[in-house]
């Protein structure tokens, strides 16, 4: 019985992974102007690392192995009146490019939809096979 749900389970791992990716993208877009963070310094852009794992002998699922911080240097803006300005009057803004985040967002959305399409297609295949009994 579990065997017939294998494609669904594999797609589910991908849905979960894309959802977590969406979380990091949302965080990145939300914190585009965060000049301070709990770790100190400006917010650092987060990214996910996907990793495949053997779900079954024929099926490979995906999960997120780690969430990494972008090492690109922060954006420096001269603003001496800002509370987070350093002694030279420069404020460090997060190293986030909104356009890049939007592209990632579109990619994540489409990847999610692709997996949903697979689930729908598999279900369609299955019900069409079942319909054979009515001929």
């Amino acid at each position: 019985m579990e065997d017939m749900f294998l494609p669904l389970n594999v797609s589910a791992t991908a849905l979960e992974a894309q959802k977590i990716r969406m979380n990091t993208i949302a965080s990145n877009i939300a914190n585009v102007n965060s000049t301070s963070s709990p770790e100190g310094g400006p917010y650092r852009r987060k990214d996910v690392v996907f990793e495949s794992y053997l779900y079954d002998e024929s099926s490979v699922g995906v999960n997120i192995s780690k969430i990494v911080e972008d090492e690109r240097p922060p954006r420096r803006v001269y603003d001496p009146g800002h509370p987070d300005a350093d002694k030279n009057g420069y404020v460090s803004y997060p190293n986030i490019n909104t356009i890049e985040e939007m592209v990632n967002l579109i990619d994540a959305t489409h990847a999610y939809e692709a997996n949903l399409t697979l689930i729908a297609a598999y279900k369609d295949m299955y019900s069409k096979t079942l319909a054979l009994t009515q001929v």
Binding site: M1, M4, F5, L8, A12, L15, E16, K19, I119, K123, Y126, S127, L130, T133, Q134
Partner: protein, 98 residues
Amino acid sequence: MSDIGNITTDIKPVISEPVKAAQKGSVSFDNAIKDALKEVSVVQNNADKAIEDFSKGKVQDIHTVVLAMEKADMSMQTLLQVRNKLLNAYNTIMSMQV
């Protein structure tokens, strides 16, 4: 007449094959049906639990719930088709001219 005798000996092994095959698979028909029913019931319960957990806020992601429901639907449809096929066979035999 000897030819006819040859034919029956030829046919015999063919007929006895399915009987042997049935004996090999030790699961009886009603047990198979009962097991299938149990499995479908488990999947249905999983879906029920997923919906309950989601409405309680225990499960946060909608795709787990929807997938559990899809699985329940697929197994239910399969069971239904097996039942239909079974009833059809029964009806066919019952309406047989004696």
